[in-house]
Amino acid sequence: MRSAAASLLIVIIANFLLPAASATVPLTNTLSASASASASASASASASASASASAPVASRAQSGYHFQSSDTQSLQDDDFKNPGMLWVDTGRQYFNDATGSKNKACASCHKKLASSVATTFPKMNQHLGAVVNLTTQIQHCRSQHQQAEPIDYESETALALTAYLANHARGQRADHHVLAPPATLKQSVEDGGRYFNQRRGQLNLSCHNCHQDSVGKMLRGDLISHGQSNGYPIYRLEWQSLGSLHRRFRACDIGVRAQPQALGIDTYINLEAYLKQRGAGLLIETPAVRR
């Protein structure tokens, strides 16, 4: 009886390990690969691991781009058609327009805008003594350094500025600072990882259950993606608008019937830091188009 249980355990372990090992080769982060290509790659992977039932386990970071239909991909590929570029355009304007009682623009202080600036977030802001992401940093600049009206996290202004700066870093890797996070960020990445793996809500699901264990399976009409953050803020067809990563987090939390957190809250910033580490090697695609 005991040996039967042990051999069953070995079979289960083998089913988990085999497809993961054989799926490493074709699942790369190239923008030219299509969703169908990755689907066939995982199909051949499960075929080679003879006994596995359904095992499209993505062992390497894969952008959500590969989980979209070719129509949606073409919307993202063409900078003119991509509706997210409207926000990028507006963001450029906001960046250069003076505002607030100090009559300063973002560009007044940030004269030489490094293209990589968006890749350095989330990071520790020493003045605030807290880990900030790009949007909460913009909010802070807005109310403190420009002395302007505070802007909401999901406001058009915050979205536009975030999209503009993230678009500036398009094609760059976003993970340099989180691969070996400094002491000030380490805790944040760890807490984010814990949130990712923690089951929650009435459906009792963690992020990991869908976006790691069930990648490539269907959730009703949707293909479950790897849950990567490299395209945010995204233009989501369901939203008919640009939306932030934290809005997406809230949507997932609501989806598993958990208590959604407030936008810009520490919990979500930590999760954002963890996702950057998890998505090591991915290139920034902002503004990405998703279903």
């Binding site: 003119f80 058609k81 509706p83 570029m85 409207l86 355009d89 067809l237 008919q240 608008s241």
Partner: protein, 109 residues
């Protein structure tokens, strides 16, 4: 309303140009509800016109089923140098106008 227009600055006489436009607009159908369940009133762009040398060359009518940020792509034959005017008219009758100058270059030289 923010718009984007893609049209070449110069063309040869007789060229067929692909023109693309994108307008930022929520296109509320009048059937959606907001976070507290109240109906969001209908708010759409009704009509789009493109005029070339004062003549209407392309027109589109939108209904409430059109997605947000409507994108259009159409063709125009370059005849004479002149202005191409793009006009979006929303349901309140408010016009958004954009103007592009199209220059005709001679390639015989």
């Amino acid at each position: 309303m923010k718009t984007r227009i893609s049209i070449p600055a110069t063309a040869k006489k007789g060229d067929i140009l692909n023109i693309k436009t994108l307008a930022s607009h929520p296109m509320h159908s009048g059937f959606r509800r907001d976070a507290i369940g109240a109906l969001v009133p209908r708010d759409i762009i009704n009509r789009f016109r493109c005029e070339y040398q004062g003549q209407l060359v392309f027109e589109a009518k939108f209904g409430p089923g059109t997605a947000a940020n409507p994108f259009l792509s159409f063709h125009l034959r370059a005849d004479e140098r002149g202005n191409v005017v793009f006009i979006w008219i929303d349901q309140q009758g408010e016009r958004t106008e954009e103007l592009r100058f199209l220059d005709i270059v001679d390639d015989e030289y």
